[in-house]
Symmetry: C2
Subunit: 291 residues, 2 copies
């Protein structure tokens, strides 16, 4: 067998609850209900200590104002969403992407984010060259690392589910992300492990172990619903689906990870339609019960 498919060391501690202080909210979770300033205030009001804002929301509010609000509410920015999207059909487009990624690093710095999360991009328009796109990702990442290392902003590669390989990210497994860390060096480079994207992977536990503490920069949670109605916006609240979230959380903690557990739920027909306070309270309870 080419990978360890089981998690024997964690199954015995299944009742061990997570640290409530480690809950973080990715702002996508309530973005349909609240603007970013309201989300920041809402997290603080609900005693949620971590937040991960998206770039478009941050730019709408203003990066400086976002940083000020987050700081005044004493929240930790567990990641900045997002950089990446490296591939492009022309050198000019790739240069444009690289420039934009540098700005994302600068914004992450101003927000005092723990890392810049990278959704690496998929096939350039009209292309079927997936191997080529993956090489462009590696090259773009190498270029960005020259800068991000110089300013000490860690980059977290987020492998996305293979159903997003064409349009969003051609890095689709933890193994690929670990391979990139091997190739480019893991000084200031690591992984954002999102269970929605990786729970199915037969090498999940082996690759978490391979990553180790040094590379585990972020841990994102939600659930995989059965059936899933939509490829993009039908993610489940923790406990409503089939992911063994606790086993995964214990696996990253077994490597020494003590960072936040970031809830990121895209849910057009359910959670995005509920009152945002109810969503945050549910996140808090489910975090304790299911993670």
């Amino acid at each position: 067998m080419s990978g360890n498919t089981t998690s024997p060391s964690v199954s015995s501690s299944i009742s061990q609850q997570p640290d409530a202080n480690l809950l973080s909210i990715n702002t996508a979770t309530v973005r349909q209900q609240w603007t970013l300033d309201k989300i920041i205030e809402g997290c603080a009001r609900h005693e949620i200590r971590g937040i991960s804002p998206w770039r478009d929301q941050t730019q709408a509010l203003g990066v400086t104002e976002t940083a000020r609000l987050i700081h005044s509410h004493e929240l930790t920015v567990t990641g900045y969403c997002r950089g990446g999207m490296f591939p492009g059909i022309s050198p000019q487009q790739r240069q444009h992407n690289n420039d934009d990624n540098r700005r994302a690093v600068d914004e992450a710095l101003e927000l005092n984010a723990q890392c810049l999360v990278l959704v690496v991009g998929g096939l350039p328009a009209g292309s079927k060259d997936l191997s080529g796109a993956r090489m462009q990702v590696r090259d773009g990442l190498a270029t960005l690392l020259d800068y991000s290392r110089s300013v000490s902003m860690p980059l977290a590669i987020e492998p996305l589910h293979p159903m997003y390989a064409a349009e969003r990210a051609c890095v689709n497994t933890l193994e690929q992300a670990n391979d990139l860390c091997d190739e480019l060096g893991d000084n200031g480079l690591g992984l954002a492990v999102d269970l929605y994207h990786t729970w199915w992977d037969p090498k999940f536990f082996a690759q978490i172990k391979r990553a180790g503490l040094r590379r585990l920069l972020a841990f994102h949670i939600c659930d995989w619903l059965v059936p899933t109605q939509d490829l993009l916006n039908d993610r489940g609240m923790m406990g409503d689906g089939v992911i063994d979230i606790r086993a995964a959380r214990l696996a990253v903690e077994a490597e020494g990870y003590r960072g936040f557990h970031e809830v990121e739920i895209f849910s057009a027909n359910n959670w995005w339609k509920k009152d945002a306070n109810e969503v945050l309270m549910t996140c808090k309870q489910r975090h304790l019960d299911c993670c």
Copy 2:
């Protein structure tokens, strides 16, 4: 790097067309328009030499009558869809699954199928134990092999896209399928390589090479649409999506594969709504142009 991500040997022969006689139609492709007897006659009329019938259609028409019709039209049964679904919540349910799989082998024999295609099954109802489901798959497969080998019916494990891990198949990569062949022996056991499920895999070409001629039992084609609107029934006709089908076909042929290229398209809002003759004619043309 843990796998060969490129296909340098095939990119130079991109213009090499496939053998038109190797087109096969999986009956799901026109199942909304025609009953199985009409599909058999339609394939023969369009000079399509291969067919892969589904079990429910075959049982509706009668296995013996299906075999008679297919034989009289001199079609090759390139695979029988499908056995598998090994996991179950109880030993009784797994025994039931095993018994049903033996009957599927018997039907495949009566149809003179080249292999029985296996969709191995996902999580049992209420379970989050994906590793356990995978062990149940291995055990069920081992049991079925005792029988299938005794009657010389090859079993073809079909890795399904990871988006089907929960409900349909927890074997989601060619590497997993190759691992199972290593573990259980590849006498009478191999792979059904369906590009819809595997095109995204960074190890695709390396695992085709690892499989080699002995394990390459079936080759299924269609395309991945951008965007894909539905998780189940929005597959594309060859050429309408982003899969480099020719590179994949040349890769299996580089291993010596000279079997059929089976078109399997689930398409609720497009191809299932068109006249079935038009669909078959389009399959023929696109097979030559894009495969």
